[in-house]
Each structure stands twice: as structure tokens, then as C-alpha cells.
Subunit: 211 residues, 2 copies
Amino acid sequence: MEGRPGSQDGQIASPRRAPSQQRSRERVERMLAAASALIAEQGSDAMRMGEVAERAGVSIGSLYQFFPDKRAIVWALAERHTAESQACISAALADVSDAEGLRRAFSELVEIYYRLFLAEPVMRDIWSGTQADKALRELELADSRANAEFLTVVLKRLRPAADPAALETTAFLVWQMGETAMRLAISVGREEGDRLVAAYKRMALRELLTE
Amino acid sequence: MEGRPGSQDGQIASPRRAPSQQRSRERVERMLAAASALIAEQGSDAMRMGEVAERAGVSIGSLYQFFPDKRAIVWALAERHTAESQACISAALADVSDAEGLRRAFSELVEIYYRLFLAEPVMRDIWSGTQADKALRELELADSRANAEFLTVVLKRLRPAADPAALETTAFLVWQMGETAMRLAISVGREEGDRLVAAYKRMALRELLTE
DNA sequence: TAAAAATATGAGTAATCCTCACATTTGCAA
DNA sequence: TTGCAAATGTGAGGATTACTCATATTTTTA
């Protein structure tokens, strides 16, 4: 969306160089801490590299000594959480051996994840997408609501006795999940994409047709 | 992710000025056509305003005469399709009066949408997000697959007779939809967010626990 | 202790969005 | 027709910011 000099070829490079001395390890920590704070305050899109360097008390050059580009910083922060939550997921599901166990473990997992989404600034930032697109996505959301509304009308007609708010939530969610399935489908191969869309259709219909 | 001069406050402005003369209407059409072609070729992120102007045969100034910023062009293109697909959705669902009708209409709708996703460059561009984030999302996807894998293992354990590929697709989709539900939940109000997560949990469990 | 490797610096480069002062064309009333 | 206001057209330059690189300093190693 904006001007830029350097390279940008859709790759996420690893740290340009691993800090091997005590001194640089501490400085890298300061950089990450500064970035984390700035992301929490304003989001990664508004975060300026110069600002990160200044707050960390290092020069802009040092920043690029260890992080090849802006995304690498965000990603480095994200990776810590990713590893942690993978361990958590693995632990929660490891011992499941029957349906009831799955129900309990999965329910708990959803709650944990939801709290993580609500509370963790860096992950929240990544999950929210760039600030630049926020306005676009807001409009998309409005469109999606409008589309889901057509579905809501049908559901209310078919199930007059059900709670209207619940039907609205269901319709909205089903619709949004459809868009997710499509998005996924076009970003994976065609074959897997077809399977995903088919699976979505089945799931959605089950939800829509079960009273 | 990059440098920029002007204003950017998360708003999408409407055309700065509506073209009222025949001449300018034609020029605006040319601008939109040029933008559409460029988006199809390289995506909106790589599309440069100067390039749009050049290909449309107008000056950069004229572009900004009618479009306040880059996003406005993309959005103007998207709006045409949006109106069209809303009409299509409305028509497909309008006459549904029973469960079988809903099943048919919804199935057809999913297919239509899927084809639209696959074929329409501008919408595909919007749905794919910015190029800048593509690498990040690829890594997110990998993480998501890894997380879903834990779920797959459980499902295979609980349903040894089922088709493994189908279980993988289900687990992946369920997981991805969970992330969608979370993303939604944090971008709407807390109350609606809670309802969405609860609805997701119910849907996911129904899918996971039904053989 | 001297050479090599790692680390630090920040002014400068490059890239691109968008503005603005001024030129040109069009619509329209006298 | 003529004159004027409104609409439209222009493109050089302002502004911002990611990232580089030649050079200086510190740490490790031989």
C-alpha cells in the first residue's frame, strides 16, 4: 500500500545473524521488548523501525543486523507464543481416548484460545491483519452481515420457534466460515480446495438443517 | 509495512469528486479498467498508482482527482461485484420455504461462490489479503496445520474405520474455522464475540463427535 | 598482543503515495 | 457569440519510511 525501497519478495528471512555474544543477546532482547510494547500500543503496521531502535536504545543499523526486515521482528515475537500454544494443544489432546474426553478437551481448548486471542497483543495484532486493511475488512464484514441476513430470514421462516438472536449468530457464523473455507480453498491446491469446500458444505448444511 | 507520506487514518473515502462530464466518466472507466488489469496481473499490493495512471493514459493527478487513495480504486472495483453477488444471494434464498429447498439453494450458492472466488481476480485479490502479508499467512497456515494435526490424531483414534483423508480435512477445517470465529469475536463487541465462540464450539463439537 | 570476527553506528538511498499550484476544457447565461 | 465559472487535467516535487553500507568499535581467538 505504500512506498518502499528495499527488497520484498514474499519471503520471511530468519535473523540475518544469530547473536552469539552476551552483549548482543541482551540488545536483541531489548529490541524485541520494544517492538512488543509498540505493537501492543499501536499495532505492527504503525510501528516504525526507527521507533523500535530508539526505544530499545540501539541504532537502526543494529536492528537490521539481527532482523532482515520488519516482518521478521513480528514473526520472532509470534514464534514464542506459537511454540507455547502448540505444547498446550498437544497436551490437551494427547490423552483423549473417547468421545466424552474429546468434548471436554476441545471445549477447554477453545476457551484457552479465546482468552489468548483477547489478551495477547502480538498475536492479536497478527490475527487482526494489517492496520492498512482494517477499513477494507470492516466493509467486507458489513457485506458479509448483509449476505448472512438473507440466510437469517430463511432460518427464521423455517424455525419460527427458535431464538432469533441464536439464528442470527448461526447464520453469520455459517456465512463467515464459508468465506474462510473459500479463502483456504484458493490458497491451497485445487484438489484439497475442493475437498475443503465440500466438507464445509456438509458441515454448514448439517448446522442449518438441524433444528 | 512501508513508507508513506500522505494521510492514512483507516477510513475509506468515497470518490473525491463524481465525474459529471462525459469526458471524465470515460477517463474514470479507463482508470478502473487499468487498475483491474494490473490487479489481475500482480495483485493490488504490487499495483503502483503511477502505473495505473500510465496505463489508463492519464496523469497521476487525474487519478487522485477521482480516487482519494489507492484503496478507493480497489474498493470501487469490488463494489460492482458485491452488488451483483448480493442480488444473486438474495434471489437464490428468496423462495426457500422448506428444508429441502434450503439444502438445494445453499448448495448451489456455495458452488457459485466458489467459482467466483476461483475466477474473479479483483475479489480474489481482496480475499487473499495484501501481498505483504502473504508470507506471514503461509507460516500461520503451516502452524494451523500442525495444530490441526493433533486433532487429526485423536479423530483417527476414535474412528479407526473412517477415511483418513476425510478426517484430516475435517480437523483442518474445524481448526481453521475456530481461528475465524476468534478473529471475528475480537473484531465485534465482546458480547457478540462470546456468542460467536459459543456457537462455534457447539458446531465444532457436533462435527467432531458425529461419526 | 595482534589479527580476525562480531557488533555498532547513522547518514544516506530508494521507492512510492499523494499534494498542489497552475493550465486547459467544458457548460451555460447574457 | 462571448465571457466566465466550474469541472477537469497536469506532473514536478513534498513527505515519509524501510532498508543499506562504509566505517568505527568491541570482543574473541590464535
